[in-house]
């Protein structure tokens, strides 16, 4: 009566109406970043957000924002606090309905996107916190991430039929594999509450990856990580690009500059710059609005610069 899961096909014919491909607006296409050489094993899907506008009451959180994540690329979104980065993420994964704008994935427009459609579409996301299920072991946490892929339904689950059992076994093996890929196999039987923070992050990442997404959305993945751990994360993300595209929001510039192919800079809900890390880093608008003078070892902080910029208020 209640199919517990759906194949990706049923899912798409469900709530998410998939309209025929539209010609993407050429405007937001990347200006620089050399596309990686295309080979058959590489991801081929492109994620497009066009003209996205979000208002909360009188506050314009996003104002006509467009962005394109090219296949196999790491696309960074940066900008001052409150610029609208998380909101953009939330639009991309269906938590916030934009007041205007469209999303395109796999050359199809996503209308009325719901968060629970994501997994079926091959899109995964991590949360700004960690968001693990505290009442489940790490392994179960990861298995849940891939649940939608298994096809056995309610009846076979209720009767405990071998078919459900087989599905579960396959799922478990995949989850285990994903954990070991991240070097976290030993965490499988443990509960999230007992894990140190970086390990929790690993489990959360494994949960996102186990469904083999073709687009991964990472919201501040490096928050709370030490520099060494951040380096590891960077390496990992770069490895992932052989299988998927990545959209990342992050405030750690070292990391962003190292791993991103393309960067979009938001301020006050508007795109103020986009381009390769090198282009963005030197853009005076970006420096003024966001980077300021970074505090670095042994360097005297230029307070004057900061004070002269002030912190501008935001139109409400």
């Amino acid at each position: 009566m209640w199919p517990g899961s759906h194949s990706p096909a049923t899912r798409q014919s469900g709530r998410t109406r998939v309209t025929p491909p539209i010609e993407p607006d050429p405007q937001p296409s990347p200006s620089g970043g050399e596309p990686r050489p295309h080979d058959p094993g590489r991801p081929a899907s492109r994620y497009l957000a066009q003209g996205v506008t979000v208002r909360f009451g009188g506050l314009v959180a996003l104002d006509d924002v467009s962005l394109a994540v090219e296949p196999g690329q790491v696309h960074g979104v940066i900008g001052p606090n409150g610029a609208g980065k998380t909101t953009l993420f939330n639009v991309c994964c269906g938590f916030v309905k934009p007041n205007a704008g469209s999303l395109t994935w796999d050359e199809r427009e996503l209308n009325n996107l719901h968060a629970h459609d994501l997994a079926g579409l091959g899109i995964a996301r991590t949360l700004q916190g960690v968001g693990l299920f505290p009442g489940m072991s790490a392994l179960e946490n990861v298995m849940t991430g891939a649940g939608v892929r298994s096809t056995s339904g309610f009846v076979s689950a209720a009767f405990g039929l071998p078919r459900a059992r087989r599905d579960e076994q396959a799922l478990q093996e995949r989850a285990m594999q994903t954990l070991s890929d991240l070097g976290a196999a030993h965490l499988a039987p443990r509960y999230p509450g007992m894990l140190p923070y970086p390990d929790q992050k690993k489990v959360a990442l494994a949960r996102a990856l186990v469904s083999e997404p073709r687009l991964l959305l990472l919201d501040e993945p490096a928050a709370g990580l030490s520099e060494g751990e951040m380096d590891e994360l960077g390496d990992l993300v770069q490895q992932l690009t052989s299988r998927m595209s990545v959209l990342i929001v992050e405030h750690h510039m070292d990391l962003v500059m190292r791993i991103c192919d393309q960067i979009t800079v938001l301020d006050f809900g508007q795109v103020i710059a986009r381009g390769t890390p090198a282009e963005v880093r030197d853009d005076p608008k970006v420096i003024a609005a966001y980077l300021g003078a970074e505090v670095s070892a042994g360097e005297e902080i230029d307070t004057a610069v900061l004070e002269s910029h002030g912190t501008t208020t935001k139109g409400a």
């Binding site: 517990g4 629970h116 489940m136 849940t144 649940g147 009767f159 405990g160 469904s211």
Partner: protein, 352 residues
């Protein structure tokens, strides 16, 4: 063998059969009165298992399960009220279907609600539903309710009981056995579901709904699903209850019944099926026990009757204070702690 045991099907079958055997032994080794208490225990436990799935696994509170039981009970009473009633399994199935339908409607509303709002909505449901019976007097016979003529035990049953214990099978005994069978079947499905992907998704929604949603779980649908399953259990429990109580009347399905179910589930240990058994047993056996003790202590009948809720209330508070995880939660905690201690003491000896 290992592989076989690993199969959910086999494991649940073994557990269910175990319960069946223990149940038969209990029914045949105890007196007639305990038999009737055990039949109360069966319907209470069936409903508690359903509620523990909903509240324990899916995190939705329901104060309305008593009313859902009413749906099952009235369906049963209406279907038995003919000259040649259908066989019980058919009636039970009908009760389950009816209750699931009601549960579906309530569940759709409930899926949007959280915590106390959900509690409030289900509580309103619990107080409202009996009024339907009052309003549609023609069908449900108002306040007086529908009497249920317990089905006569069939021949084969009489000879079976005769073979087992050499006694004559009364209709009370027959009802107790029906209850036991329903319980075993209910248990079987609950065990399977709890360990399956379905159960995992329910827990995911309970623990972290945003993360569950991102993982592709449709929150609303999962919540409604849990509610419907849980309602189905309540419906089956209601069917058995109708036969045990021999009546389906509004006064049977008061808010107190719903609250008792929740209480059973929590003091047994939320989310644990064993806990549902234990909690139900406490609720079925404790009150008469207290009354008896009070009467033995030379209290008047009225005083003894008042002692029962007094002690019951105090016990609830004490269990929550002293064993916040319920009986099962506290036991497993103690066990885990013991294991941890043993590991701690074991480590130095290894080194030494």
């Amino acid at each position: 063998m290992q592989r076989l045991l690993g199969l959910n099907l086999v494991r649940s079958l073994l557990v269910s059969l175990g319960v069946l055997v223990v149940g038969v032994l209990l029914l045949e080794s105890t007196d007639a009165y305990t038999n009737t208490q055990l039949s109360s225990l069966t319907y209470f436990t069936i409903a508690a298992i359903g509620l523990t799935a909903l509240t324990g696994l899916n995190g939705q509170i329901s104060l309305g399960h008593g009313a859902l039981m009413a749906v099952g009970a009235y369906t049963t009473a209406l279907m038995l009220d003919t000259d040649s009633p259908l066989p019980f399994p058919v009636i039970a199935l009908a009760a389950i279907v009816m209750t699931s339908l009601v549960g579906f409607v309530v569940g759709i509303g409930a899926a949007r609600l959280h915590g106390p709002y959900l509690a409030g909505a289900t509580l309103a449901f619990a107080v409202a539903l009996p009024s339907v019976a009052l309003y549609f007097k023609g069908t449900f016979n108002g306040e007086a309710g529908l009497t249920v003529i317990s089905p006569r035990p069939p021949e084969w049953f009489v000879s079976f009981i005769d073979a087992v214990s050499g006694e004559f099978a009364t209709s009370s005994k027959y009802v107790a056995y029906l209850g036991l069978f329903c319980l075993v079947i209910a248990l079987f499905f609950a065990l399977n579901l709890g360990r399956s992907k379905i159960g995992r998704h329910w827990r995911a929604v309970r623990d972290q709904e945003v993360a569950a949603e991102i993982a592709g779980i449709n929150l609303g649908r999962t919540r409604v699903q849990a509610f419907v399953i849980s309602a189905a259990y309540a419906g089956l429990a209601g069917a058995v209850m109708a036969m045990v109580v021999r009546l389906a009347a509004p006064t049977v399905f008061t808010l107190v019944l719903s609250l008792s179910l929740l209480t059973a589930v929590v003091i047994g240990g939320l989310g644990s099926i064993t806990g549902a058994f234990i909690g139900s047993a406490v609720l079925v056996f404790l009150p008469p026990l207290v009354t008896d003790l009070s009467t033995d202590a030379k209290l008047s009948d009225t005083q003894a009757a008042q002692m029962s809720p007094l002690i019951y209330g105090i016990v609830l508070v004490l269990v929550m204070l002293l064993a916040p995880g319920g009986v099962m939660g506290t036991l497993s905690m103690a066990w885990r702690r013991r294991r941890a201690r043993r590991q701690l003491t074991a480590t130095p000896t290894k080194k030494g």
